[in-house]
Structure formats: structure tokens, C-alpha cells
Amino acid sequence: MSRSARVLSSLALAAVVLGLCRALGTVEGLALAGGLALVSGTAFLGGGAARAVGAVFLGGLLFGFARARCGTGLGLAVALVPAVLAYRFAPVRVLRRVAFLVPSLVVLVFATTILMYRAPGSPFAGERMSTPQVEARLREHYGVPKSAVAFFGIYMKRLVVDGTLGPSLKVRGRSVESLLAPALPVSISLGLLALTLATASGLALGVLAGLRPNRAIDHLTIGIATVGVSLPSFVIGATLMVVLSLGLGVLPVAGWGGYGHLVMPALTLAFPYTGYVARLARTGTLEVMREDFVRTARAKGLRERDVVLRHALRGAISPVVSFLGPAAAGILTGSFVVETLFDVPGVGQWFVKGAVNRDYSVVLGTAILYAALVTALNLVADLVHAWLDPRIRGQL
């Protein structure tokens, strides 16, 4: 890097840190800047260091989970074995992700806490004004002091030492994990179904369209993709509800419990994703069909069907896989709109309710869940890429 570039980027960095300090207060700003530096630092860890740090963090994470369930001794044993195995056998890429995940979750909690505290309102402000004494007592009871930094301390201690996401501040008597635990399978089953529908139909449409550009199937695909991406899900959902439930009476309007309850929310969730997947698969197919190796395959006299299935498909689904990683995290954590529309008790509602109610524990719990899922699914997407593309495999 040139000297002037160095000076300029240092200046920019200093400005960012200064800006953080001005916006959040000196202590908070410096802490956040330091945390971010630490997180980005994990990218520069050498192979051996990344291995070691990743294995230690992995062990720590497992220990945290295991100890809350089965005590310190057994927890240690449960955590140690995978950590050692991971250090020995897991690809560096995986361990580097873990090394990145843990500090970034801490920074996430810190940043979220600071932002939450800066939002007007408080979890203890009801419509009927309570006295300062009542509020002070509630703050003490729930461990929510008036300072964001102090709350961060209490929360991290709860997370690390007690292995809990803390009590919900609005849904009395329940911990955040007891709210998310029953909601997660609901969102996951709905999300997976939607994801399967979206991927299968999107891929089929996209690949077919990519193979026959500017023909009827292509126009159909682009049409579906455009409609799927631009129609908001409450319109799709409401239309399905009017036609299938109120009109034909074949499905229940809303609710959760029976298999019939799965259909409409899954279709509603899947529709926009079908659009995205189809567009990506179409572009991927168009590109890959122009590649030299496809021409070679054709020149070798392979049948068109084999050219497509054996050679083109791989290239075509590659952008879809990159998209599906983060998209899966989104779809598996539910959608507020679809859940409220079909009265589905999933995770998506908590993202919105937590924020609206200033329920700090729920806000942090959902943020952690989402961040962990995004990181994990990105890792999965990376691994699938490596499997699909020999050029990437070498980097593992």
C-alpha cells in the first residue's frame, strides 16, 4: 500500500473512532471500536493461531451449553472432546469462522445494548405511570440498571456464567430461551418447507429459462420472479387466504397445529424466494453455458442432457448457494408479517415485539440467535461451494 493510502485510511479510521465516541460517549465508543478491531483481527490470524483460537472458542461455547444442562464436570468432558478433535481434524476455514463468531457475538451484544438504551422509552414504562420507586424495584429485580454499560456487564455474566439469555421483561415469568425454544421448531419447519419449495421450483424455472433465453419459459420465469420479488407477502398471504380458505374452504384460515396450517404460510414465505432463486439460477445458467468447458463437453459429443446435468448445473447453482446461506438464516428465523397474518407462533414475532416493547432481553436473544445462524449458514454455504467448485476446494 502506498504511503498516502496508509495516511488516508488511518485518518479515516481515526474519524470513525472519533465519530463513535461522539455519538455513543467516550467509553462506549472506544470499547466498540476496540471490539470491532478485535473481530476484524481474527481474519489476520495465521493458520496455527486460527486453529488454536477456534478450537478454544468452540470448546468454550460447548462448555457453556453443556454446563447449564449437565454440570461443570460433565460439561468440561463434553466440551473437551470435540474441541480437541476440531483442533486436530477440522479445516482451518471452519475454525477461523468460530474464532470470528465468538468475539463478534460479544461486540454484537455490546452494540445492540448501547443502541437499545439510546432508543427512547424503557421496558418498564407502561401506559399507567408507575412511581419511581416501583420502577427502581423492577429494574433491580430484572437486572436492568439505568446504565447501558452496567447492563452489558450483567448480561454477559448471565450469558457466560449462568448460561441463560435472561428473563423476558414483558412476558412475565419466562426466560428468553423458554420463549424462543418452542418457537424455533415452528419457524424451522415452516422455513425449511418454504426453502425447499422455493429452491426446487426456483431452480427448475431458472435453469430451464437460462437454457432457452427469450423463449416462453424464460418470459414466464422472469414474470414469476418479478411478481414474487415485488409483491409484499401480506398481499400474497391475504390472497391465498381469501381464495383457499374463505372461497374454497379447503384450508384453515390461520392457526397452528395441523398439517393444513403449514400450506399457506409456507407458500407465502416461498414465493419471493422462488423469484430470487429463479433469477440467480437463470443468470448462472446463461453464464455457464458460454464457458469453455461447456463448449468442450459439447465438442466431445456429449448429449445435451448430460452437458446440462453434469457440467452446467454445477455452475448454475453456485450463485444460488451463496444466496441461500444468508437467506436461509432469514427464512428459518421466521417472518413477522407471515406469522401475524397466519397466527403462527414462530420466532419472527419476537424480533418485532422485542423492539416494540423495549424488551431488552428478547432483543438481545433474537439478535444472538440471528447472528449465530447467519454465521453458521454462511459457513455451510462456503463448504457447499468448495464441494461444487474444485477451484475453491484448494483454499480450504
Binding site: A119, P120, G121, S122, A125, G126, R128, M129, S130, T131, P132, Q133, V134, R137, H141, P167, R172, G173, R174, L179, A183, P185, I188, S189, L192, L193, L195, T196, T199, A200, L203, A238, M241, S245, L246, G249, P252, V253, A254, G255, W256, G257, Y259, L262, D306, L309, R310, L313, E339, T340, L341, F342, D343, P345, G346, Q349, V356, R358, W387, L388
Partner: protein, 670 residues
């Protein structure tokens, strides 16, 4: 088949298999009665819960000393099989019936003493503790220590700084601003010392140095007095004062002043008993009301609670009156989306849909035969910030009140038969007559008043903001009001919104000109609407204060004081003769029942005078309309009374919108 295709098919197949693995089909048989219970229930702790969805469930699974008769909402025997009231109306003796909790424990008088003490215990931090402040010693038990703490620490510190800054005396305005910031009126709400009273009620003019010194000096004795009262209350409340058990089946309640609505309070969830052995069991934090732990004494028991989905209630076969309970099972659905709720009702999946339908369909839904809509005990109004221009001027406050065409809003925006509010207390309270009001739709007068206040044709009038919490309907109303003010007064008015939490913060900081609010009465008495406007009251939030208003409400809380004390101040009322006449009747009455009735009349007259101060003299508010409580209920549902039906055949609206699940029947069980 090729490896890639195989991979794709296999992973999709795997995902589907996982769906099968994570999805559990959990369909119960359909319940006898299913209703939309609005938002998710956040607590079922009778002493702590707040909100209508919560109270609907709690009042079905717990039972208080009395219960609401479904036809008349008058108190009927419940856990108390009978009761006696002393002639002066201050002592109630309840005889507890032979009844059991769901775990077989007998229900005792001690359960009520425990629960009421729990409600009032400052450590419980219940928002509804004040509902039992009419019990002797209850307020001292609940809040005097906390108030004393404030008077010993933060308040003198803040006042010392104020004294230093205003060494030569201060103006009353800046003193009031400080008072609001440090919740002075709240801390001194029971103070009687003249040195304290003197400054608290002063909102104009100046304050001498001596007065301020005397004020500060009077704080310590007041704190001491509170401490002593708190010590006394802690030793006696629940033992031989306020509420106590004479024996296992006899409960004595000892009121500081006669409370005409007391037997309605004992039917309210806040006073229902909680099982001490469950609440305080080791390992319980505040999760004792979850289905796996809860023990109840009401007509139903909590069978299942799936968060964000539904609550299933089953008939409690141990309940003393289980033979009267027709429903075996009830599903209470938590629903966020109004359209979904309506669709569920229309598809027959719900039997009762209270309130939760898209309001823009109101005019169509209103025509359905299964629709009901009756006047409710809720008022929609705007607060006017009296601490800063332009609304610190009473003429301006009256002018805006006169410039809003409420009929237009009620008819064109709302359309459910809501009524224009020109007073504050919703109509229909037994024994209460609304006072004269200055509010009407009178644009010429409004313009004249505005000119008188120095803004002819709105010239020079500052631009004002009309704040509402985010909602489509509040927006429509606020924009209508803004356009009326622009059109009729020629002033610049702008409607703007904030989401609920930010909205609350803004209101509390008095950082607004006009802000929207709806107030639901806690009990059927004008007091629940009027006491929010007391000086420094937690829900006042307009900065408005009137010594006469405060005095009227405090006197109404115990009118017997008026029979012996000073009555000369009554001359400042609009109709002192009516109050005097009623007082004379009280004094001359020999029959205790007649005396009580006369006292109740005097009380209502005083409350009426107080409301007159609000809507005729001072106008710190702009009332808009009184709500209509509405919904859809299947014709199969019986024992459901949107209009109350009395013995003599006359009917009145079900103001509180209470429909005891205990008494609901289905014409044919599904």
C-alpha cells in the same frame, strides 16, 4: 443420475425430512367456546397483571370475594357466600364459603389477607396497588417509606441547588418546573403542613426566599411523619387493621372512608387470592402462574398455554359452582392481525371477536346481525401542554376546543355510533350527572377568543404539533383536527406520530403541544377518570394544576370530613347550594342507610364540580369522543350481555365490557 442433481435432490429431501422431524401436529379437539383474546397474555398473576387479555383469563381461573353478575355486573356472592356492612360503610365482614383450590387446599380468609398484603407490599411493585388505598393503613404500608426516602435524599438535594441558584427568591413557574422534575407533588401528596401547601399549589407570581426556606425546613418533619405512619402500618396492616382474618372463614375489611364501589373492587382480578404456597415455593421466581405450577380457585383451570398461539381453559370440577358452568373447554387465541381475526370469525373458527376487526370495515360490519356495539367507559382526548405557549393561556385552550367539529369525526372517521365528547367522564355512571361544559362547536367564538388572546385571525400564533402514537385511526383523527384548526382559526397545526415507547417518553417530558390519549376506566365511578388530573398526578402530564380541583377530589374521597370541618371554601363552587343542601340531609339523617345515600350524593356533586373545573373553567384537555365497545358474537352464544338487563326490565350499556366466561353457554355444543 448425476452427482450434482443427486446432491440437490438429496438435500431437498433431507430438508423435507427435517420438516417432518421438527413439525409436531398438536391439534386438540375443538373447544366449546373460542374467542379472540387480542395480544399475547403477559402475566396471570392476579396482583401484577395489567391489560384486558390478561384479566379475561385471570378472572376465569381465579375468583374473588364477589363476582360480577353477568346480566347486571352488580356484585354477586362468590368466594364470600355473604357479607355484612357496618352502618357507617367503613367495615365489611365477609364470610368465606367452603371452597377448594385446584390442589385441594381449602380457600381461607388468610388467602385474601396474604394476597392483599402482597398487592400492597412495595416489594411486589404492583401498578394496581392504589386500588386498595381505601383500606386503612394501606397507602402507608405501600408507599410511605418510599416517599420518605425521596423527602430525605434526592428532593432536599435538588431544592438546595434551587435555593442556591435563586438566592433572592424565585418565580413560581421555575419552581413548578423543578417540582415536576423531582415528582414533588407525588412525594408530598399526603402533606398538610401550611408551609408545604403554600408553595405546592402556586403556579403564578413569585416565591419569597423565606417561603422557600420554610418549605425546605418542613420537609424533614413530613418525612418523619411518613416514617412513623409506615412503621405503624407495617406492624398493624393485615394484623388488626385494613384487612385481617377473624378466623379461617371470616374476613374483616376496615376502610379509611366509605367506598361505594368497594364490592365491585372485590370482583376485580387485582383483589383475587393467590396461593401463597405456590407463589413462595422454593425455586419459583415469578413463573408460578405457568400451567405446570399454577393453582387456582375459579370456575376454570389453566390447561394449556402456547405462547403466541392460544390458552386452553377447562372447567374446574372442584369449583363450588361448577354445576352452573356450562362450558367444558375454552380456547383463547392470541391474535395480532385484525384481518386474520375477522377471517377466523367469518370462517366459524371463533365464536366471539371483541374489537379486533379492521376498523375501516366498520360501516359494513355494523350492519351484520351478529354485531354488537355499545357505549363504553373510554374517552378519547388530547392533552394540551399548559406549561408553554400557546396553551398556557386558558383562552387559547378554549378556542381550540371550540374550533373542532367533533360530529364530523364521529360520523365520517369513526362511524360506529361513537358520541362526541364535550365533557371528560363518559356518560352512564350511576348517580353521576355531567356538569355544564364550555365545549361546543362555535367557530366565531373561538376566533374571538383567539383574537382576545392576541392572535387575531391566527396571526402570530406559533405553529403547533399534534402528536399521536402510530396508528391509522389516530392519524386520521389527528389530521382532521389539524385541518379544522387550520381552517377555522387560521393557525398552523401539523399532525405527527411516534411509536408507543417514544411517544410515552415525549409526553412525560412535556415536550409536545397537543397529544392524543385514550383513557379506560378501572371501575364504574367518575373518580377513575378524574383523579388523573390531580396536581402532579402520574398520568396528568399536561403540567396543569388547580388547588380547587385537588381539594374537591380529596374531599370527595371522604365526604364525612365535610360534615364537621370548614365549609366556607364551598362558596367558590358553581353550585354551592346543592352541595350544602346535600350536606344538611347527611347531617340530619338518622337512618344509616339514608345517611350513606346522602353522603354518596354529596360525593357525586363534588366530583361533578371537579369535572366542571376541567371542562368548563380550565380546559387542559380537548376531549374528542367516547368510545363504542364493539365486536362480533355468534348467535349460538348465550349468557352474553352487551347491554345489561336489570330486574325491572330496563337496560344500560355494558360500560366496562365485562363478559364473565363462567356464565356463557352455547346453544348447541359443537
Amino acid at each position: 443420475m448425476d452427482r450434482t442433481l443427486l446432491g440437490i435432490v438429496a438435500s431437498l429431501g433431507g430438508a423435507l425430512a427435517l420438516v417432518g422431524f421438527t413439525f409436531r401436529s398438536t391439534v386438540d379437539g375443538p373447544a366449546d367456546f373460542r374467542f379472540a383474546n387480542q395480544t399475547e397474555v403477559s402475566s396471570l398473576d392476579p396482583q401484577l397483571l395489567v391489560g384486558q387479555p390478561e384479566s379475561r383469563i385471570a378472572e376465569a381461573i381465579f375468583e374473588g370475594l364477589t363476582r360480577y353478575d353477568p346480566k347486571t355486573l352488580s356484585p354477586a356472592p362468590a368466594m364470600a357466600e355473604r357479607w355484612e356492612v357496618s352502618p357507617d360503610g367503613k367495615r365489611y365482614t365477609f364470610h368465606i364459603r367452603q371452597a377448594e383450590w385446584t390442589d385441594g387446599h381449602p380457600v381461607t380468609a388468610g388467602d385474601f389477607v396474604y394476597s392483599w398484603k402482597r398487592l400492597l407490599d412495595p416489594a411486589t411493585a404492583s401498578e394496581y396497588a392504589y386500588l386498595l388505598f381505601s383500606l386503612r393503613g394501606a397507602e402507608a404500608f405501600n408507599s410511605f417509606d418510599g416517599l420518605a426516602e425521596d423527602l430525605e435524599g434526592p428532593i432536599p438535594r435538588a431544592l438546595a441547588a434551587f435555593q442556591k441558584a435563586h438566592a433572592g427568591g424565585a418565580d413560581a413557574k421555575s419552581f413548578q418546573a423543578l417540582a415536576r422534575k423531582i415528582h414533588l407533588s407525588d412525594a408530598l401528596r399526603r402533606a398538610t403542613a401550611p408551609a408545604l401547601q403554600n408553595l405546592l399549589g402556586r403556579s403564578t407570581g413569585s416565591i419569597e426566599k423565606d417561603e422557600l426556606d420554610a418549605f425546605v425546613a418542613a420537609l424533614a418533619p413530613e418525612a418523619r411523619r411518613l416514617r412513623e405512619a409506615a412503621v405503624h402500618a407495617k406492624a398493624h396492616f393485615g394484623v388488626d387493621e385494613g384487612v385481617f382474618a377473624r378466623d379461617a372463614r371470616t374476613l374483616e375489611v376496615d376502610l379509611a372512608a366509605p367506598t361505594p364501589y368497594f364490592l365491585s373492587l372485590t370482583a376485580y382480578h387485582t383483589t383475587m387470592p393467590s396461593p401463597r404456597w405456590v407463589v413462595e415455593a422454593p425455586g419459583r421466581r415469578d413463573d408460578w402462574f405457568l400451567p405446570e405450577h399454577i393453582v387456582t380457585n375459579g370456575p376454570f383451570r389453566l390447561a394449556k398455554w402456547i405462547v403466541n398461539d392460544h390458552i386452553r381453559l377447562e372447567r374446574n370440577e372442584k369449583y363450588w359452582g361448577h354445576a352452573d358452568v356450562a362450558l367444558r373447554t375454552i380456547d383463547a387465541l392470541s391474535l395480532e392481525n385484525e384481518t386474520t381475526a375477522l377471517n377466523l370469525y367469518l370462517s366459524g373458527a371463533l365464536d366471539w371477536l371483541p374489537e379486533q376487526y379492521p376498523k375501516d370495515l366498520a360501516s359494513d360490519i355494523r350492519k351484520r346481525p351478529d354485531f354488537y356495539g355499545e357505549r363504553g367507559m373510554v374517552v378519547y382526548f388530547y392533552r394540551l401542554n399548559t406549561t408553554r405557549p400557546p396553551f398556557d393561556d386558558r383562552r387559547v385552550r378554549l378556542a381550540v376546543n371550540l374550533a373542532v367539529n367533533r360530529t364530523l369525526i364521529v360520523r365520517d372517521v369513526l362511524g360506529l355510533g361513537q358520541t362526541e365528547a364535550t365533557t371528560f367522564v363518559p356518560p352512564g355512571m350511576t348517580g353521576y350527572t355531567a356538569p355544564e361544559t364550555a365545549i361546543s362547536y362555535d367557530v366565531p367564538r373561538a376566533r374571538a377568543l383567539l383574537a382576545e388572546a392576541g392572535y387575531p385571525d391566527g396571526r402570530g400564533f406559533p405553529s403547533i404539533g399534534i402528536l399521536y402514537n402510530t396508528s391509522a385511526q389516530h392519524k386520521q383523527i389527528a389530521e382532521e383536527v389539524a385541518s379544522e384548526l387550520r381552517k377555522n382559526l387560521g393557525i398552523e397545526a401539523r399532525a405527527y406520530n411516534q411509536e408507543w415507547q417514544s411517544f410515552q417518553t415525549t409526553i412525560r417530558a412535556l415536550d409536545y403541544d397537543m397529544s392524543r390519549m385514550g383513557w379506560i376506566g378501572d371501575y364504574a365511578d367518575p373518580n377513575t377518570f378524574l383523579d388523573m388530573w390531580l396536581t402532579g398526578g402520574g398520568n396528568n402530564q399536561t403540567g396543569w394544576s388547580s388547588p380547587l380541583y385537588d381539594r374537591l377530589l380529596h374531599t370527595a374521597a371522604d365526604v364525612s370530613e365535610l360534615e364537621t370541618g370548614d365549609v366556607s371554601w364551598l362558596d367558590s363552587l358553581a353550585h354551592p347550594d346543592a352541595v350544602r343542601k346535600s350536606l344538611d340531609e347527611t347531617r340530619s339523617a338518622t337512618d344509616p342507610a339514608v345517611k350513606l345515600a346522602a353522603r354518596a350524593r354529596t360525593r357525586m356533586l363534588l366530583l361533578g364540580e371537579a369535572e366542571r373545573v376541567l371542562v368548563h373553567d380550565e380546559l387542559p384537555i380537548l376531549p374528542v369522543y367516547f368510545y363504542v365497545v364493539s365486536g362480533l358474537v355468534s348467535p349460538k352464544v348465550k349468557g352474553f350481555y352487551p347491554r345489561l338487563v336489570f330486574e325491572d326490565g330496563h337496560t344500560t350499556p355494558n360500560l366496562m365490557d365485562i363478559h364473565p366466561l363462567r356464565d356463557i353457554r352455547m346453544e348447541e355444543t359443537r
